[in-house]
């Protein structure tokens, strides 16, 4: 039995359908990243689960118990806010102790948690005397203190700088593993989602487009939205010319492109979009099926170089190791190959 089961969840604010038929399950001890662009309904989903807002429709069951009749304080859910929401008039220790202040032996528990989140020595500080990274650790410890059944993280790292974000997300992962707590982590940062989660769910327009392990979602997007949202893909519009058992052929501005068949039904003449991640594009020898292109600029990114190209099928981006790109210069003519097995094709109308 899943720890958390959300089904057919709906929530509108006026005319806006913030959450529109969302289904989600979470196993015990699992960390699931809820990933999506801003406004896709991910924070609303968390707030509905926490009980801060009431859904229009749907069910939320935690550990076999229907949550909907319960007010937030009865749900046994820890919530970590994007802006920390630490109580400014309480010290670090008082903040952490707030949820367990009537429990026996709560001072010991606070001490444990302070060690767990690595805040020793700061117990008597006030939130205004802490750095933002320290604030986020306090917020995490405070949410963990009452031993909730579920932890909800609402973009907990988005207010931090890049370096701190990376170290703190490893920390969150470590702590989550230590306490083996089912966790729902909302973020708009796909690196963060992939690095931290067991599974991730990509949300779009109030519902989940795809749910799976990070590598499944990265390599096998199941919709045009996921293909365009995850990673950095080249998008090429075209029309299907032929369909066979193992491959699709399409015409893109007069150039024939191929993709491996994905089990989806297409018919000749259908307008489609082809997605190919920029690191999957290759410079080709003449023998292969290629697209000729002209280099506009080669952008240096340290380890890799992104080559911006102009071609008959539109602008293309190609990412290659920096060592192999030393001879790339503007105006140079190259041949580019889009490996069929790395290309995903979706009907054009699905991407709105």
């Amino acid at each position: 039995m899943p720890e958390l089961a959300v089904s057919d969840l709906h929530k509108s604010f006026g005319d806006v359908h913030a959450v529109n038929g969302l289904d989600l399950t979470l196993a015990e001890g699992e960390i699931l990243a809820l990933l999506g662009p801003s406004g896709c309904g991910k924070t609303t989903t968390l707030r509905l689960i926490a009980g801060f807002d009431r859904p229009d429709q749907g069910t939320i069951v935690l550990h076999g118990r229907d949550l909907l009749p319960l007010p937030p304080e009865k749900r046994k859910i820890g919530f970590v806010f994007q802006n920390y929401a630490l109580f400014p008039h309480m010290t670090v220790a008082q903040n952490i102790a707030y949820g367990i202040r009537y429990a026996p032996r709560h001072t010991e528990r606070v001490r444990e948690l302070i060690v767990l989140v690595d805040l020793s020595g700061l117990e008597r500080r006030y939130p205004r005397e802490l750095s933002s990274g320290q604030c986020q650790r306090v917020a995490l410890a405070r949410a963990l203190a009452p031993q909730p059944r579920l932890l909800l993280l609402d973009e907990p790292l988005s207010a931090l700088d890049a370096k701190l974000r990376e170290s703190l997300r490893r920390e969150i992962r470590r702590i989550q593993q230590e306490v083996k707590l089912a966790t729902l982590h909302v973020t708009h940062d796909q690196d963060e989602a992939m690095a931290i989660s067991d599974r991730m769910a990509v949300m779009h327009a109030g519902r989940i487009e795809q749910i799976g392990t990070p590598s499944e979602i990265y390599s096998h997007p199941e919709s045009a939205f996921v293909a365009s949202f995850i990673g950095h893909a080249n998008v090429i519009a075209g029309t299907i010319t032929s369909v066979s058992e193992e491959r699709l052929e399409m015409d893109a501005s007069g150039t024939m492109l191929r993709a491996a068949a994905s089990g989806r039904d297409f018919h000749p003449g259908e307008d489609v979009l082809l997605f190919c991640k920029e690191e999957k594009l290759r410079l080709a020898d003449d023998g292969q099926k290629t697209v000729s292109a002209r280099v506009i600029i080669a952008e240096y990114h340290g380890e890799t170089v992104i080559v911006h190209l102009e071609s008959r099928i539109g602008p293309l981006r190609l990412r290659m190791p920096a060592g192999m790109a030393s001879n790339m210069s503007a105006g140079m003519q190259v041949s580019v190959c889009l490996p069929p097995e790395e290309c995903d094709v979706f009907p054009q109308k699905t991407l709105s």
């Binding site: 801060f52 009431r54 007010p71 304080e73 929401a85 008039h89 707030y98």
Partner: protein, 563 residues
């Protein structure tokens, strides 16, 4: 009535809001809506049932027309003079730096809570024909007659109103001026625009919301001013407020009194509306990333501007301190000798014929009314502030306007409304202390809302959600989180409320029965009987109580919760 927009968590909050609102409206119906409606309905009654004759005569009879026009005239002059004095002060506050600036800025609050009757007393003692100013000038220059004969005239009323309201202009416009983004002015300067054209074309338009907003506020205050006009207007000059008071208290002509209230509300509401409109716009204009550059006032070189500022400061010092110092001096002066006789009498006198009771009983009555009215206005004001900030209910705007309605009704009118509304069923409180406490609470709670609202708006609602996800009920979240964080705001509001109640005279004088007296009523009674020494001693007690309340803000709550 209003439908829930869906927000607000579960179970408690939405239903809680409706219950609180219902209770609030029920309470206000008893102590405000019903009494006001009862009184206003009297405007439509004549000797033989329903009629428009009272309203008709109020807007056509030359006596009433003159009364209304004079009220508008004195308010307009008072606003202009307050603007004149206040804008210069605002300019100095915004552009110059000098020691004691913060003190001066905080002193600008004082006129707001200084009881009007005290100001009137100070003016009589200082500016009166045989007041300290005239006496000093006569003996200095050997003049046979007092050079200033300004009391009991339009000039006296306007001057006293400016004493009161110029600091408001100074405060509001000064804050806006200091917040202006200097880079806009610098951009104009780099384009070669001269100093005066920059002021007219660039600075002034950005100050306009603040100027308009404070002008509207001052106009409403002076339009509804009662004790000043009552005492400084003499027999010849009366405003609508004084007219209502005379009709209700002396002539017992309730129908014309009610008709005058109706006219007064219409005029003051339109200006209140203007004030609220312009105040809302201010937030947008006053956003500068950098501070306005400021010059040190007490540093070389001395230029013409600084000399003018010194002159202004001297005049203002005399103008603002003179009346207050006069009261203190006069309180130490009785029957041609100096000493504390007035205070001794205040403590020992068993019965004063001018008060109808003993001075000590008067002070005690004021303290009782002040404490209970403060408590009541805090409870109502806090509930409304919470509603306005936290509730998400359709029609909130209209509900808010209805809840803040007492702001638009004058103190005398509220006194009159409660005199009629509370005497009969259902409450039957005519002539009691409770009626006065209710009147004060109704008058004061809108100010409590105004103090608490911005603080509550700055208080992140996620703190409440965090507390609830940690197992606290809504009530406990309020007690553990919101209340401690509001503590300072509540203290400030409490002191304001207490000071306003202690100084309230307009509604009180209508509601009070013989044998009962409050400090402002006593000051007025002693003043009318020309017992200046005793009146001054009473006024000093009032100033002292108010000052102690203000100092205690700093002591009690000023320290810890500045974060």
């Amino acid at each position: 009535m209003a439908a829930c927009l869906g927000d607000g968590d579960h179970t408690t909050v939405t239903r809680g809001w409706y219950l609180a609102l219902l209770a609030l409206f029920g309470l206000l119906a008893l102590v405000f809506y019903y009494p006001l409606a009862l009184v206003l309905s009297m405007a439509f009654k004549g000797p033989n049932g329903w009629s428009f004759s009272a309203i008709e005569s109020v807007i056509t009879d030359p006596y009433y027309v003159h009364l209304i026009l004079f009220t508008v005239k004195q308010a307009a002059y008072s606003t202009l003079l307050s603007l004149g004095i206040g804008l210069v002060g605002a300019y100095i506050l915004a552009r110059y730096n000098f020691p004691g600036k913060r003190t001066i800025r905080s002193l600008t609050v004082i006129p707001f809570v200084l009881p009007a009757i005290v100001v009137a007393l100070g003016f009589i003692l200082f500016f009166g024909n045989s007041g300290y100013l005239n006496r000093t000038l006569m003996s200095l220059f050997g003049l046979p007659h007092p050079p200033f004969r300004i009391l009991y005239s339009l000039v006296g009323i306007v001057l006293a109103h400016a004493f009161y309201n110029a600091p408001i202009v100074m405060r509001v416009v000064g804050a806006s001026w200091e917040g202006l983004d200097p880079s806009i002015d610098e951009a104009a300067q780099s384009l070669g625009v001269g100093r005066w054209r920059r002021f007219i074309g660039i600075t002034l338009p950005r100050l306009m919301p603040a100027i308009l907003s404070s002008s509207a506020l001052v106009f409403v205050f002076t339009f509804l001013s009662f004790p000043i006009v009552l005492t400084l207007g003499g027999a010849r000059y009366a405003t609508i407020e004084v007219g209502i008071y005379t009709l209700v208290r002396t002539l017992l002509d309730y129908n014309h009194g009610a008709a005058l209230i109706l006219v007064e509300i219409v005029i003051s509401l339109s200006f209140t509306y203007l004030y609220l409109r312009t105040e809302g716009r201010m937030a947008i204009v006053t956003q500068g990333s950098r501070r306005m550059p400021q010059r040190a006032l007490f540093a070389l070189p001395v230029d013409a501007g600084k000399v003018l500022i010194a002159l202004y400061a001297l005049l203002m010092g005399v103008f603002f301190l003179g009346p207050i110092v006069s009261i203190i001096i006069d309180s130490l002066h009785s029957a041609q000798s100096w000493g504390i006789a007035n205070y001794a009498q205040l403590v020992s006198q068993r019965y004063s014929p001018f008060l109808g009771t003993s001075p000590l009983a008067t002070v005690r009555t004021s303290l009782i009314i002040g404490s209970l009215a403060t408590l009541a206005s805090l409870l109502v004001g806090m509930t409304i502030a919470f509603f306005v900030v936290r509730a998400k209910i359709i029609g909130r705007w209209a509900i808010e306007a209805a809840l803040m309605a007492p702001l638009a009704v004058s103190s005398v009118a509220i006194g009159f409304a409660l005199l009629r509304g509370l005497s009969g069923p259902p409450l039957r409180l005519g002539g009691t202390l409770v009626a006065i406490i209710i009147a004060h609470a109704v008058l004061i709670y809108p100010f409590v809302v105004r103090v608490l609202r911005p603080i509550l708006e700055g208080l992140d609602v996620q703190l409440v959600e965090a507390a609830r996800s940690l197992g606290s009920s809504r009530l406990h979240a309020f007690l553990d989180i919101e209340l401690p964080l509001l503590r300072r705001g509540l203290l400030v509001a409490a002191v304001f409320a207490f000071a306003l109640s202690m100084g309230e005279m307009s509604a009180t004088i209508i509601l009070i029965r013989p044998g009962l007296s409050t400090i402002p009523i006593a000051v007025y009674g002693l003043l009318s009987a020309r017992q200046f020494g005793a009146a001054s001693a009473m006024a000093v007690v009032l100033i002292a109580v108010t000052a102690i309340a203000f100092i205690s803000i700093d002591r009690l709550g000023g320290r810890r919760l500045n974060a």
